[in-house]
């Protein structure tokens, strides 16, 4: 309906409007320490890479953040998918785990942070645990609903062909619930990123989140905004990778639905 070109034109137009509004607001406040305009942020973004003193602390921060996101998400996936399948398939697991998963899912992420930091100390180990804790429940819940709502015609057919339990799980239920699983993974990834940033800002004072919080607290809002832009690019790239994977894996499903 709307072609790619008009999409880019509207994106560009609204982008220009947004930046102009931002610039006007910053100029009218004229307090660049607290509210930097686009110009200052662009300069700060440049100096993140050219100024060797800043980039010396940026590189390890980037490494910490990426490592935490990756391991936290990875752990959440390898723990969350089996538990979700278990809950969707077996009524006993459903009865036992469902209230707990739902309850923990509703707990605001920040509640985990102090307790976890007590165990791990103020470093990226804590960020990994928190990313895991926050991401795992949305993965479990999505896999659970995907497997549970797997169409009964598919299951009946598989049963009438005498599929074993393992075949049923691996050849029918998992492929059929793949779209829902991918939604879970996408939500889980953005929640993992969020968890890492939260724990870094609150306590760990390492990584990108720590740097963002530090520079905002010291009234270097331009630097803080520049770091946020870097973080945004990282998370756009990561979620973009998952989206491509999504399209590759369940493209057939969309075709089927049409």
């Amino acid at each position: 309906m709307r072609s790619g070109i008009t999409r880019y034109i509207t994106l560009f137009g609204t982008g220009v409007v947004f930046i102009t509004a931002w610039w006007a607001l910053a100029e009218s406040k004229h307090n660049f320490a607290q509210f930097a305009g686009p110009g200052q942020v662009a300069v700060a973004l440049g100096s993140l890479f050219t100024n060797s003193a800043i980039s010396a602390s940026l590189v390890p921060a980037l490494k910490d953040t990426m490592v935490s996101i990756f391991f936290g998400f990875f752990l959440a996936v390898i723990v969350g998918i089996p538990i979700g399948v278990l809950m969707g398939r077996y009524i006993v697991a459903d009865l036992v785990l469902d209230p707990w998963v739902n309850a923990w899912y509703s707990v605001p992420a920040i509640a985990f942070v102090p307790l976890v930091m007590n165990w791990t100390g103020l470093n990226y180990g804590g960020s990994i645990v928190i990313a895991f804790l926050i991401a795992v429940f949305s993965i479990i819940l999505n896999v659970y609903s995907g497997v549970k709502n797997c169409s009964t015609t598919l299951l009946d057919t598989a049963a009438s062909y005498r599929a074993s339990e393992f075949q049923l799980l691996s050849k029918v239920m998992l492929p059929a619930s793949l779209p829902q699983i991918m939604i879970g993974l996408r939500l889980g990834l953005s929640r993992a990123i969020e968890g890492v940033v939260i724990s870094e800002m609150l306590y760990a004072a390492v990584g990108l989140g720590g740097m963002i919080d530090y520079s905002a607290d010291h009234l270097q809002s331009a630097t803080s905004d520049a770091l946020i832009i870097i973080l945004a690019i990282i998370s756009l790239v990561l979620t973009g990778c998952l989206r491509i994977l999504d399209r590759k894996m369940i493209g057939w499903k969309e075709l089927d639905a049409r």
Binding site: L11, I91, V107, S190, I198
Partner: protein, 307 residues
Amino acid sequence: MGHDDKGIEDQSRTISAPNDQAMLERQTEEKRPAGRRTFPNFISGSLRARLAVFALTFLIFLSLWQLIASLTNNSLILAKPLPVFQALVNLLQDNVPRATEGLQNPTIAIVQTLEIVFLGFGLAAIVGIPIGILEGRWNFAAGIIDPWIDATHSIPIVALIPTLYFAIGGSFFAFVFIAFLLAVFSIIVNTQSGVKYSIGFLSDVGRSFRASELQFISKIVLPASMPDIITGLRVGLGRAILGAVLAQALLSGNGLGGMIVTFQDLYATPYTMATLLLIAVLGILVLQLPKQLEKRIFKGNEIFETL
């Protein structure tokens, strides 16, 4: 792999279509169709069974907690259940430990946090639902707003909290704005997808009865997409709580977020954990509200659920 799966699905559809009808008839006679025992869907545990199982698992949880705390044997890292519950009772009676003289009364802290949550969330609902409807109904609006929603959805907005706070100038409304910002996007996205996909053939019905745009939205679009809107409100409410508590923890000593940070800095671990429990329980309780709302709204609207 794609072709095989599609084949299975198609085949099953043609074969089992009459069987479904038979199954349905049998189900009305006896509650448990014999051939389907291996599939979990038909047993949905009764409420009493669920409660009993939950009580049991809760006991297991408590004893595990006690066990791990005794093994760690370090009340600074992990307090035992009993002191934590004692601390919780103390907090609820405004009875804070002596070292934290400057701290707010816990009940005032709870009220303050809830104020921020509900103001921010209310604003987000007032702004988010109309934008979502606009986006779902008119492609032009979707073309303008969509890319931005996509982008902000995949960026951790929590990172904006410190900068935003200082940019706004750090008042009560800065907190409300942060809660608003965290909540509004999930409300917009869910409303939009509800409006776009849940109407189905109802849009033809509305058109053939010559419904005006206003009637169309208020009588067809809103009721039909209510489940999605409620989901959006639920997610948004959770995010508003997160935003409020996080902003308080990062930026001020007030509210529940401030309480956590204060107790943690003092290593008053039972009190930290009691505050965590408080936040957790509050989060779980508050998130029940949209569910209750949904039940109320759907009393007269079952017809839309079957579509």
